[in-house]
């Protein structure tokens, strides 16, 4: 663990019991989050990116879900082995989350200020009136006009963008070390998306917060992140700095993703690439690389053995990829 590493996830495994058997939604996932950094996790729906982050906060419902392996090191503490009570004082205070749909993520029958003040009273020991004042102040900071009046409103009286602002105010209320943003703009109008991303970036810099940005939108990654993890079928298949990843993607899946984004220069002249096939059934994964059926570079070995993570040294720094195209000339990464 480096000096600057604030969160280290190692070999995280989360499984779900389903009618068709046990599903490894997250399968030996490892990554580091540096202080002040924004780490992007990108992947299709069902690739395990949300489950990874819910696992960090231990918000997986049991049954059906269960974290069965790995470590989540935060301030030299393994979050997977601390007591539930200690976990309570980490959620919302040191690590907080915002979610995809701000309408359903806010409680419809509780006034907006109360939902924010609740966190303040819980973690900062504030009294009700003090917390209310602070909640209104947070609403102002986050860009809600006329916050005294709006504080008395209920979530359904806000627009989608405003609701997400409220969520952000709530998440930042205790000045957390880490903010996990799970598809924070997916449910919003395009014009609002940029505002919310700007807001997250601004507050991140202001409060020196580290951010984990979960998204399926490579545009968001390009705009927001320093480091990127690409997830596929519960695993991280490639990890690199944002420029390295966009500049020279290594894993065939990452390449496919990048080629499927329309670019201004290409419009009308070139057909968009799409990745053939669909993600594999996690309930019964065949041996070997889970991407091989959709991969145009698949080789014999891909069908029998799972590719380990390989560390590649480049001028911009270290990166890893899990693919048999990159023989293990260098040292092994974490398998």
């Amino acid at each position: 663990m480096h000096e600057t590493t604030i969160l280290q996830v190692e070999g995280l495994v989360t499984e779900f019991k389903s009618e068709r058997g046990i599903v490894n939604a997250v399968n030996k996932v490892s990554f580091d989050l540096e202080r002040g950094q924004t780490l992007g996790i990108v992947g299709e729906s069902g690739s395990g990116k949300s489950v990874t982050n819910l696992s960090i906060l231990r918000l997986i419902e049991y049954p059906p879900g269960r974290i069965t392996g790995g470590k989540v090191l935060f301030h030299d503490q393994d979050l997977l082995s601390v007591s539930e009570n200690e976990m309570l004082s980490i959620r919302g205070k040191h690590i907080s989350m915002i979610f995809q749909d701000p309408l359903t993520s806010l409680n419809p029958v509780i006034k907006v200020w109360k939902q924010i003040a609740e966190t303040l009273m819980l973690h900062q020991g504030m009294k009700k009136q003090e917390a209310k004042k602070q909640a209104i102040e947070l609403l102002r900071i986050i860009g809600i006009p006329d916050p005294e009046m709006r504080a008395e409103c209920y979530p359904h009286q806000f627009s989608g963008g405003m609701r997400q602002r409220v969520m952000i105010a709530m998440a930042l209320s205790c000045n957390p070390d880490i903010l996990i943003a799970d598809e924070p703009t997916t449910a919003l109008d395009v014009t609002i998306q940029a505002q919310i991303l700007d807001l997250i970036r601004e507050k991140k810099e202001q409060y020196q917060t580290s951010v984990i940005m979960i998204t399926h939108d490579l545009g968001v990654i390009a705009e927001m992140c320093d480091q990127v993890c690409v997830m596929y079928a519960g695993r991280i298949v490639e990890r690199a700095g944002v420029e390295a990843l966009f500049g020279s993607p290594k894993h065939p899946y990452t390449r496919g993703l990048l080629e499927s984004i329309p670019r201004m220069g290409n419009v009308g002249t070139q057909r968009l690439h799409s990745i053939k096939g669909s993600p594999p059934d996690l309930a019964n994964l065949p041996p070997g690389c889970p991407f091989r059926d959709r991969c145009d570079k698949a080789m014999d070995i891909c069908a029998s053995q799972l590719p380990p993570e390989v560390v590649l040294q480049e001028a911009e720094g270290e990166r890893t990829v899990a693919c048999w195209l990159y023989p293990q000339e260098g040292k092994h990464g974490r398998a």
């Binding site: 389903s18 009618e19 049954p63 059906p64």
Partner: protein
């Protein structure tokens, strides 16, 4: 992810088995009963349940065999609850479908009428209808049937209105299908699921309503045995002959439970969206 579906099916099955046992008991009672259910026998008044005397559930204050009377009462309960439910369902569904399909003023008039009937608690409405019509078995059917009309009307109207907006109805219309055709081929088949559940629950409530009316002396009149009037006459003697009150009550509880289990199971099997409806 879970296994409740099997459990729920088991629940429906358990209900069905209970109901079938009662049907069997009711058929048997037409041909054979342990004792004559109406013949009084002053020598055997208020005997406790015993194997030796053959009175498994004891005798009542007139020396009549409680088990025989319960068996005889089964047919009464079935006939009343089935005919009352049929009456309420036929009229209520007709009104509800009519209101929902035509909409506008017809709908408004019918549903206001249903609202007004809803303003009377069901047992009270039944009691008052009995008070007006006079105590007779036929009138019990009528009273419970009337109580059921607005319930069936409301459910069928709601389902029809929900269906009317669907694409496939509009598609049928644009293909030139007539009103009756759409009604018969598209609307009615699609509202059966909630109605079947409602019918099953109505059958159970009818048994409770009938027994309450008979208990109050407003339903089936002695000496004809019904579970309700058996309990009514048991009130005078139940302190020292509790079996006269316990067994007829158990007969009610088990059959009603059977219908409730069936209704609960059917609801989960037929339409999971209805889970929250009672």
């Amino acid at each position: 992810m879970k296994t409740p579906r099997i459990v729920r099916n088991k629940i429906a099955l358990a209900g069905l088995i209970v109901i079938l046992l009662y049907v069997l008991m009711s058929i048997v009672s037409l041909f054979w009963l342990p004792f004559n259910p109406v013949a009084m026998n002053s020598a055997e008044v208020l005997q406790g349940p015993s194997l030796a005397s053959g009175h498994l559930f004891g005798t009542d204050e007139f020396g009549r065999d409680v088990l025989s009377r319960i068996m005889k009462g089964t047919s009464v309960s079935f006939i009343i609850s089935v005919s009352a439910t049929a009456l309420g369902a036929v009229i209520g569904i007709f009104m509800g479908v009519w209101a929902g399909y035509l909409g506008g003023k017809t709908d408004n008039a019918i549903m206001r009428f249903a609202d007004i009937l809803f303003a009377f608690p069901s047992l009270l409405l039944a009691i008052f209808i009995m008070a007006i019509l006079g105590e007779h078995t036929y009138n019990v059917v009528l009273a419970i049937g009337i109580v059921y009309i607005p319930q069936f009307a409301r459910i069928s109207r709601g389902s029809i209105i929900a269906l009317k907006g669907n694409e496939f109805i509009r598609a049928a219309k644009s293909n030139g299908a007539g009103r009756t055709y759409i009604l018969r081929h598209h609307l009615l088949p699609n509202i059966t699921a909630p109605l079947i559940v409602q019918i099953s629950l109505s059958l159970s409530t009818a048994i409770l309503l009938e027994s309450a009316l008979s208990f109050l002396g407003l339903g089936v009149q002695p000496p004809d045995p019904s579970w309700g009037n058996m309990l009514s006459s048991a009130r005078k003697v139940m302190m020292f002959a509790p079996w006269t009150a316990i067994y007829p009550g158990l007969a009610i509880v088990l059959l009603v439970l059977g219908f409730n289990l069936l209704g609960d199971g059917l609801r989960d099997i037929l339409d999971p969206r209805l889970r929250n409806v009672r």
